[in-house]
């Protein structure tokens, strides 16, 4: 039996506009989001059919496709004068004082913003779209180029991934389902889903309804008997100094966490 809140949000689509959810009346505030990724069953190779089935699930729940979306994540590597490249370097002397991983996140709906994340230091910086140019001028960290993804090296798998796919409106929710693929490649490296709940921006207050939604979503996916399942890994926002009120920085951190999970899945 679906939770009452979920039932309300589904039926609200058929009500006169005055009874519609608070979306249209809500000022532009940050709305709570949650990211999930597809975890394939052991031994199963990821394929685009899963993506199609996930989109089918969104439509079977009454989701209305209303556009496409794309988020880009960039991996940076430290450039050093002796040729080493930080702890993750493959050659020469390494530099433990330099961050192992530096991520850049460009979110689909805010092209003017750019986020840089040092996960080891639990640090997320919000900057504007010119930030990559600053980094380029400094010549201290370089965005790595994806060379050959078919090698399936764990470190190369998620170089320059583009996360893109379809967006669905579903009552108070917005679902964005998409694939994770290297830049300039159709190679499928993961499937992600972003769930946005319009009425609330508080993480704690929206936790219950997000979990309700997740349960219903899992039930729907389970009916398809797909070789795997969606999982959500909670990001520890407080470690990043982020508050309970949701922001784009929260989303950027979630993408970093989700990407880490995808890489772990590939390694596994």
């Amino acid at each position: 039996m679906p939770a009452v809140k979920w039932y309300r949000t589904l039926t609200s689509r058929n009500l006169p506009s005055v009874f519609l959810p608070a979306l249209s009346l809500t000022p532009a505030v940050f709305r709570r989001r949650r990211l999930m990724h597809w975890h394939p069953s052991p031994g199963v190779t990821l394929n685009s059919q899963i993506l199609a089935e996930a989109c089918g699930c969104a439509e079977s729940l009454g989701g209305v496709k209303d556009g496409r979306w794309k988020t880009s994540i960039f991996f940076y590597r430290a450039m050093t004068r002796d040729g080493a490249a930080g702890p993750a370097g493959q050659q020469g002397q390494q530099h433990p004082d330099l961050p192992r991983e530096l991520l850049g996140v460009a979110l689909h709906e805010r092209p003017g913003l750019y986020f840089s994340i040092v996960r080891a230091a639990r640090l997320v910086l919000q900057a504007d779209a010119a930030f990559p140019q600053v980094m380029e001028k400094l010549q201290s960290y370089k965005a790595r180029v994806a060379l050959n993804f078919e090698v399936a090296s764990c470190l190369l798998v998620s170089d320059f991934p583009n996360l893109g796919g379809f967006q669905y409106q579903l009552g108070d929710f917005c679902l964005r389902i998409g694939k994770c693929a290297p830049n300039n490649s159709e190679s499928l490296r993961g499937i992600m889903m972003e769930v946005e709940y319009y009425p609330l921006s508080s993480i704690e207050k929206s936790r219950a309804i997000m979990e309700d939604f997740f349960d219903i979503w899992q039930e729907t996916v389970a009916k398809k008997s797909l070789p795997g399942h969606f999982i959500h890994v909670e990001s520890n926002f407080s470690e990043y100094g982020l508050s309970d009120q949701y922001s784009f920085q929260h989303t950027a951190v979630q993408y970093a966490t989700c990407l880490q999970q995808l890489m772990a899945t590939v390694r596994g």
Binding site: L98, L102, V118, L123, Q126, Q133, L138, Q139
Partner: protein, 234 residues
Amino acid sequence: MSLSLHCLLFFFRKCSAISSVLIDPPILQHVEALEVLLQGLSGVPKERVRVHELCLKSGPNLGVVPSEVRLLGDLAQATPSWTIRHVGGAMRGAGAEQISVLVRTVVESKASKNVLHYFYTLGYKLDHEILKIGFAFRFHRGAQITVTVTSANKMPRLHATDEAVPVTPGIQLVEITAPAAADNYNDVVSAVTAFCEFLAPLLHLSKPGHSTGIVTTAGAAAASLMSSGGGKTL
């Protein structure tokens, strides 16, 4: 009164022009006169400037080449905002020598307040910090021109902006900047040069390091400006 005059042209993603002037001690009156003159020329209200500028340099082994980045904290606002600025090398060549301003690349990005912690984490070290206090005028006159008149202040303790004291008491730095693009910087140079002519009674402009010396008319010009009431749009 002795004036050391500088004229810089920044080459942004767009292009921008700067001119700057140092004004010596008994010249507080001249600063007031300059304010009156700028108010009249621009026709816009003066803005308060209070910028905490931190200069960071890359650590010993970081980067293909040593690099430098500036973090600018705008303390004039109730909630300080932060900007990352990278200033590139000056444009060179015969063309650059013939113009009266300096052209160089500047890239800026707004950033959240943890930007200093961020660059420390990336391996950058604090080289020095100053607090610039003064005023600015922003207006359009052939180009989007910004004039700032500031004094440089140093902090006795790290980041103690409330305890800042002037580096060179009584001396003010006047800078004029204007953004431009690669294909129109000549127009911007002309606009800035033309504007600087209006300041000639008080200030002469030149590229950094090329002092034009004392402006003999400054005292009289300042007295005239102050006595005429000023503030009127010219």
